[in-house]
Symmetry: C2
Subunit: 220 residues, 2 copies
């Protein structure tokens, strides 16, 4: 209810204009104070370490160290880390998920209006409402274990072999795959043999397991 002290904010964005704009918006609020700025990820980390802000507005795309790594380092090295809000241009940005995993507790679109920005900063500063970090991180962790780095063999599969593996993972027999792909059963056998060789498996069942473990099924 009563604001005990001002919310200390650090801005991290490689574009000076963006920083200026954000500073102008936030400084207009009596309860918000922009205590520092950073133009690179590395700078953001050191600035956060020195100034101990309550909130960091972090751009994803920055030179040297990107916003994701910077977020990780800030959260890892500080005892009482600030709330990190990641700023992106597009909401379907793939960085979103990496940022979540890194521990960011919120997002802002650059096109968000000033009002929303201010409110978001206030909200994040007082935490424990609207999507808490713990929930976010649990989700991100689930997302992470769903697709780590795909094994090398995925890239080595030819077009037809990938098709065959997909059908294998659907539980089809060679004959069924042949009908679906409109080729002879012998051809399918050849492809299956190639898939087994490249995946390092000995039978179709192990190949299917490899496909699932590799997240091969999640990639559409």
């Amino acid at each position: 209810m009563t604001r005990r002290t001002t919310i200390r904010v650090v801005l991290a964005d490689d574009e000076r204009m963006v920083r200026t704009a954000l500073r102008a918006i936030l400084s207009a609020e009596p309860d918000l104070e922009v205590v520092g700025e950073a133009a690179t990820g590395a700078e953001a980390v050191s600035v956060a370490r020195e100034l101990r802000p309550d909130v960091v507005l972090m751009d994803v795309r920055m030179p040297e160290v990107d916003g994701i790594r910077a977020t990780e380092q800030i959260l890892a090295t500080l005892a009482a880390p600030p709330r990190v809000v990641v700023v992106t241009t597009f909401e379907n940005d793939s960085y979103v998920y990496d940022a979540l995993r890194a521990g960011a507790c919120g997002f802002l679109l650059k096109r968000a209006d000033a009002d929303a920005l201010v409110q978001a900063v206030r909200l994040v500063a007082r935490t424990d409402s609207l999507l808490f970090p713990s929930a976010v991180r649990a989700l991100a962790a689930a997302h992470a274990r769903a697709e780590p780095a795909p094994p090398a063999w995925v890239a080595r599969l030819t077009g037809r072999e990938s098709e065959v593996l997909r059908h294998l993972a659907a539980g089809l027999t060679n004959a069924e795959i042949a009908r679906l792909m409109e080729v002879g059963p012998a051809t399918v056998k050849t492809h299956v043999a190639a898939v087994l060789a490249k995946t390092g498996t000995r039978d179709r069942t192990q190949a299917v397991i490899a496909a699932y473990e590799a997240g091969f099924m999640n990639a559409r």
Copy 2:
């Protein structure tokens, strides 16, 4: 920047006291208007349908229809659905993930202070900042495909059959499974046949697929 009109809010909570408290807090703000209340999930759906609010504060635990189903129904049946904010008591509530999957775009803890509540409602109403629904839903979807409700057949498997299925999903042959389980190959065949019957699959490969799809592999 300028608020064009008031934010219309509907409260859904089975406890009258909670509704009263929320209404008191929100009504104190000139830009917020509590236009309706509901004491059950079913009521929440019909009220939302009639009043077309901007935001619905939805309790998870409610008689008849719980908050999750109510959220689903509201989002499914309305052309321009309201933003649904789910209200929980504990942040590690397992309902959180179900709510995300259902399409809720935010969370509030009941212990959140009045200020945070008001700000959260404003923020959610003007959308597109702080964790957008699309990102949340993508994450929730990832989480969902990791562990939906396990199919009925999982419970029907006997102890030995579960063991066998686990070994099948490790890519072992019947002979290997027999050695591991210290029984005869014929016994393994019997168990495999039972697994195929209960999973409704025709061969070991499909059984493994079923195991993966059912999240059978995640459960330890």
